[in-house]
């Protein structure tokens, strides 16, 4: 009996193993007929000419075959982001970095920032970037749409060709505060369909291309959604079942785990080289790092620390990319709170601070100093170090001068302030460094650390006399309007936003620049505005903090990485895995 059991077990094991075994591959030779184009020289009227001719040739090729064909493994890029979960994939509400990354792969816009380079525009759904014309004092931009751009198929609506109706619907949705978080950017804009492939956009107030193009580019409200599926499924469903025209289309969403996007076979720029993208939610940096090192992940969102970048670059098979756009950290002083209402006190603080000490917290190449509210490295209209130096507005470290100014203002022994900070390192490190540096001139700062969302709420309630804010804005006008225009003053402004300093001194310059059509004059006006900000020491620009992602060295993004507005390395139809 015992022997029978042993034999039966062995037999069963052999059978199971046999069933599970891979079929043995064989190499067979196969004849195939292929068409080739050959060049031939023929004599036409006594003159030799080279002509191309199609000929059919029989070729013998070797093919690996198995009794049961082994299915081809799909090429999937596994990306891990620091977010805990999805917010929304409706591009007009997508604000968190992970949501922006996802919509960037699913949707297109009339124009787009060149992949990997956020400083250049190129046509996307439009055939070309048009030149605006002035009609009855209004500015008209006419976009001719590409033919054959297909909306992704969805459960409710099969794939169909995108037309002007979709574009008009989408841009009107972006302008509606009930259906978009970016409605404010579309005030004074009218969108009309001219024919199925032509869209006319009229601006009540003419503006320069630098300010107009971001409104119709692949960022925030500029993304074009497909009207029919949106209407068929409704706004709520669309958040988790987005339908666009981009290189990747929605496949599945597993809460707290991942979103899977699959290749859009009908993408108008050609089928993506990847079969799918798995976008995973992994808030813990250590987990992302270990996942990358073990080869379970291909790309991860890294830590914005020079030390981390250097350490990861030493790992075999791992490369770290550091690229823009850099989010700018700025110290804003509340000009209505004593003693910060005295310009001498604000200047004293500026002289007591050392940009390089802040910079050392993040380390190169992750961060670099900035000298004006608008980062000159990424956007037109910013001031360079040389420019502020020549104007004497750099405020280099000078503790004696700082103490003298404080004494002159009536605070020889300094003073105390209380602030709230986010728990995020990009904020907390800067606050703590400022605290340590200002202690040298007798200014005592008490920091109350709260979670990030709470900080945003509290500083908008004007609780902080000094606010450190880290942000990216798509152009100089948005930076200056939202941080320094009187309408944007927190709590009390006409449209309360992020003017934490309560400053009112550059409204006219911002407004003049906004309607200036000559790019050079526009830049000059923006620079003047920022010179005034520095003269009045309304805010102290610190540094920009770059994006950091690490990847396995077999990942090729398909473009050079300089700056990406979507805050990730950008995965396009050209991204591939080269193993």
């Amino acid at each position: 009996m015992k022997r029978f059991v042993i034999i039966a077990t062995l037999l069963a094991t052999v059978l199971i193993l046999g069933a599970c075994a891979q079929p043995t591959p064989e190499v067979v030779e196969k004849e195939v007929i292929v068409t080739q184009i050959v060049k031939e020289t023929v004599i036409v009227e006594g003159t030799p000419q080279v002509v191309e001719k199609k000929v059919e040739v029989t070729k013998i090729i070797k093919e690996v075959v198995t009794a049961t064909p082994v299915p081809k493994e799909p090429v999937v890029l596994r990306y891990a982001d620091k977010a805990a979960d999805l917010g929304t994939m409706d591009p007009h509400f997508a604000a968190a970095t992970n949501d922006r990354n996802l919509v960037d792969m699913i949707f297109n816009a009339l124009v787009r920032y060149k992949p990997g380079d956020g400083t250049q525009f190129e046509p996307d759904l439009a055939e070309e970037i048009p030149e605006p014309v002035i009609v009855d004092g209004k500015q008209v931009w006419t976009f001719n749409l590409r033919r054959g751009v297909m909306c992704h198929p969805s459960e409710q609506v099969p794939a169909y060709e995108l037309t002007a109706d979709d574009v008009v619907f989408s841009l009107k949705k972006s302008a509606n505060p009930d259906t978009s978080a970016y409605a404010g950017d579309y005030n004074g804009m009218t969108v009309e369909k001219v024919d199925d492939y032509t869209v006319k956009i009229t601006m009540e107030q003419p503006i320069s291309p630098v300010l107009f193009l971001p409104k119709v580019a692949d960022y925030a409200g500029g993304f074009i959604i497909c009207q029919k599926p949106y209407e068929a499924m409704g706004a709520e469903e669309f958040k988790t079942h987005p339908v666009g025209t981009g290189p990747f289309m929605f496949d599945s969403y597993s809460p707290q785990e991942k979103v899977v996007l699959k290749a859009n076979d009908n993408y108008f720029r050609g089928r993506p080289l990847l079969d799918a993208v798995e976008y995973r939610f992994m808030p813990e940096l250590n987990s992302r790092e270990l996942g990358l090192r073990s080869g379970e992940l291909d790309v991860i969102n890294g830590a914005a620390e020079g030390q981390w970048v250097r350490r990861m670059n030493q790992e075999d098979g791992i490369r770290v990319d550091v690229y823009g756009v850099g989010e700018v950290a700025t110290i804003h002083f509340n000009l209505t709170v004593p003693p910060l209402d005295d310009v001498r006190v604000r200047k004293a603080i500026a002289y007591a601070l050392d940009r390089d000490e802040f910079l050392a917290l993040f380390g190169e190449p992750v961060a670099a100093n900035v000298y004006s509210a608008v980062p000159a490295q990424f956007l037109p209209g910013g001031l360079t170090k040389k420019e502020v130096d020549e104007l004497g507005l750099e405020y280099p470290l000078d503790l004696d001068k700082a103490k003298a100014l404080l004494a002159e203002a009536g605070y020889p022994d300094g003073f105390s302030l209380e602030v709230v900070s986010s728990e995020r390192e990009s904020y907390l490190k800067n606050y703590q460094s400022m605290q340590a540096q200002l202690a040298k001139v007798g200014i005592d700062i008490k920091i109350n650390t709260v979670d990030h969302s709470s900080m945003h709420k509290l500083i908008r309630q004007d609780v902080n006399p000094i606010v450190i804010y880290v942000a990216w804005r798509p152009n100089a006008d948005v930076y200056l309007t939202r941080f320094y225009h009187s309408d944007s003053i927190v709590v009390t402004g006409a449209k309360p936003d992020t003017n934490f300093s309560h400053y009112t001194g550059i409204d006219d310059l911002i407004e003049q620049a906004r309607v200036e059509l000559d790019p050079d004059k526009q830049i000059e006006l923006w620079k003047q505005a920022q010179i005034k900000l520095l003269e009045d020491m309304v805010s102290y620009p610190l540094q920009y903090q770059n994006q950091v992602t690490a990847r396995r060295d077999y990942v090729d993004y398909g473009h050079e990485l300089k700056s990406v507005l979507a805050l990730y390395p950008q995965i396009t139809e050209n991204t591939r895995i080269v193993k």
Partner: protein, 312 residues
């Protein structure tokens, strides 16, 4: 017995109500709200206000509270304030991951902890006992997230035996088990430390009892004495600690699921807190409370099975 069960179940209603009320108001006291968290800092105040209105956050608090209780009474967990997805559907997707993790950690903890505890008790004050005691003390002192990283470094990076992150595919047992190995080992090891210590001290007490001496005097083999007589008498505190740990493990899954990037209730809770997703947060807390109540009830019932002297 049935009367006891009915009384215990009836007592869970005020417990649930107290927890729900506390959670409902505490999450709303924290500064920040779902609209601000969802739209980020780039959105205008106007857009944030419009979203608040749509989310129903401008309704009076008491109305929101009664609405929540009413929905819950109908068995409706509601929709996520952020993604708009049915929470019951989200829970259904992630709950199996938390349950399998908790269950497998209990198995690891019990299978390692009880034998080690018995062994160290039988060899008390020897080198084996000292090593066992020091190791279990160290196990109790190591936080789950730190042990998780160490386990990942050894088994996923160095030895490459198991995957480091993710939950695997529930429909593919191989993928599922391989992804479960390291998180359950992490939680199981922490539980082992506790079970070892308690088993050791319970066994030490019992092994010195008269009835054990009698059993030995009757000439019973040591295996029978230890496993049939001593262990049975020591089981009540061991069952207690396993019950306590079952509840603890569900809570510890918050850290473990985050470190191992596994889907689960714990990760859902963290996500809901970060996104200020009030409805999701409340629902997860309801489920956690339910688990704790059920585990406590089951533990009480198991007492009477392992010790006939205990009656309900």
């Amino acid at each position: 017995m049935l009367k006891y069960l009915a009384t215990r179940l009836a007592l869970t209603i005020p417990t649930f109500l107290a927890v729900l009320t506390l959670v409902f108001f505490v999450v709303r006291v924290i500064p920040g709200d779902p609209a601000t968290a969802a739209l980020g800092d780039y959105a205008s105040q106007e857009a944030v206000e419009a979203l608040r209105e749509r989310m129903g956050l401008n309704e009076p608090l008491y109305m929101q509270y009664f609405q929540f209780l009413g929905d819950l009474a109908r068995g409706d967990l509601g929709k996520s304030m952020i993604t708009g997805k049915e929470i019951s559907g989200m829970v259904k997707q992630v709950l199996p991951y938390t349950l399998e993790l908790t269950l497998s950690a209990i198995i690891v903890g019990a299978l390692l902890g009880i034998p080690i505890g018995i062994h160290t008790a039988r060899n008390s004050n020897t080198l084996v006992d000292y090593i066992g005691r020091i190791t279990s003390l160290a196990g109790l002192s190591v936080p789950a997230f730190y042990l998780g990283i160490l386990v990942m470094l050894l088994f996923a990076i160095k030895l490459k035996w198991f995957p480091a992150v993710g939950g695997g595919d529930l429909s593919d047992w191989k993928s599922n088990l391989s992804h479960l190995a390291l998180p359950s080992l992490t939680l199981g090891l922490i539980m082992t430390a506790s079970v070892t210590r308690l088993t050791r001290s319970a066994m030490l007490n019992v092994l010195n009892e008269d009835f054990i001496r009698t059993a030995r005097a009757k000439g019973l083999s040591e295996r029978v004495v230890v496993f049939r007589h001593a262990l049975r008498a020591a089981l009540v505190p061991i069952v207690s600690i396993i019950g306590i740990w079952a509840a603890n493990l569900i809570a510890d899954s918050v850290l473990t699921e985050t470190v191992f990037a596994r889907p689960g209730l714990g990760k859902m809770l963290v996500g809901a807190i970060m996104q200020r997703d009030y409805t999701a947060l409340q629902s997860v807390m309801v489920i956690y409370t339910g688990f704790v109540v059920i585990i406590n009830l089951l533990t009480d019932l198991v007492y009477s099975l392992v010790d006939p002297r205990i009656t309900h």
